[in-house]
């Protein structure tokens, strides 16, 4: 396994000067119930998808639905990048989509339940307009309709 380390200097340089989105306000939905009564959904930007689903394209802002019932090793890594070593993710997808960990929390009674579906996006999006206007709000509406209380999000 590659040693864990802070981001390399080139990535840091790029991130420092990339003119990204900048907001002044923050949306806020307070937690309404204790976690052991909450329904939780996972969202990752690791670009995972399942065999039979359409792979992500370059700059793809859309998402793939990941059923809660899958085995974690069924996830395909669709986010090959020179920016990081993906071997860890391929060995253990929980590293960026911690489904097994949350199933353990559910079994232990520390969270109420897991939603029947979760969502995967691709993270390398330098033009996120459709993500902001269409796909992310769509996932929000779907999760709300599912009765989800909490979403846990992981980058890659």
């Amino acid at each position: 396994m590659a040693p864990l380390r802070k981001l390399d200097s080139l990535s840091r340089f790029f991130m420092k000067f990339y003119s990204g989105k900048h907001y002044e306000t923050t949306p806020h939905t307070p937690l309404r119930s204790p976690l052991n009564e909450c329904k939780i959904a996972l969202i990752t930007t690791a670009g995972f998808f399942l065999n039979g689903q359409e792979p992500f394209g370059n700059g793809d802002c859309s998402y793939r639905e990941i059923p809660n019932s899958i085995q974690i090793q069924a996830l395909v890594n669709g986010h090959k990048s020179a920016a990081y070593d993906e071997r860890g993710l391929e060995t253990d997808p929980n590293l960026a989509f911690p489904l097994d960990r949350f199933k353990e929390l559910e079994t232990e009674g520390k969270i109420g339940s897991l939603n029947h579906r979760h969502f995967s996006f691709m993270g390398s999006i330098t033009k996120p307009d459709r993500l902001i206007t269409q796909f992310a709000p769509e996932v929000g509406r779907v999760l709300k309709t599912d009765g989800v209380d909490v979403a846990f999000l992981t980058p890659v």
Partner: protein, 91 residues
């Protein structure tokens, strides 16, 4: 750009009426996007939950992140993980 994408998705999901918390690998980006709650971890790209096949560390990070949901500070909340890089490299 994963960290920006996570923040943008998080904003939209929170705005839909769902409480959200995220992991970030790049605090500078997250500070600009201002998602409601984020835990900054000291790991490289590809390792938001620290290390593969280390359920103990993954649970520790998840527990820290979920605790932000009960934090009564007004969002945005951006906290650094108590997990350290050193102990995991040695691991």
């Amino acid at each position: 750009m994963c960290n920006q994408s996570v923040g943008l998705i998080q904003r939209a999901v929170e705005a839909a009426g769902i409480s959200t918390v995220s992991i970030t690998l790049i605090e500078d980006i997250t500070r600009k996007v201002r998602p409601p709650r984020a835990l900054a971890v000291p790991y490289g790209f590809g390792h938001p939950l620290g290390e593969p096949n280390n359920p103990e560390l993954q649970h520790a990070i998840i527990t820290e992140a979920l605790a932000l949901l009960a934090d009564e500070t007004s969002p945005p909340i951006l906290k650094s993980s108590r997990q350290t890089l050193k102990e995991k490299i040695d691991g």
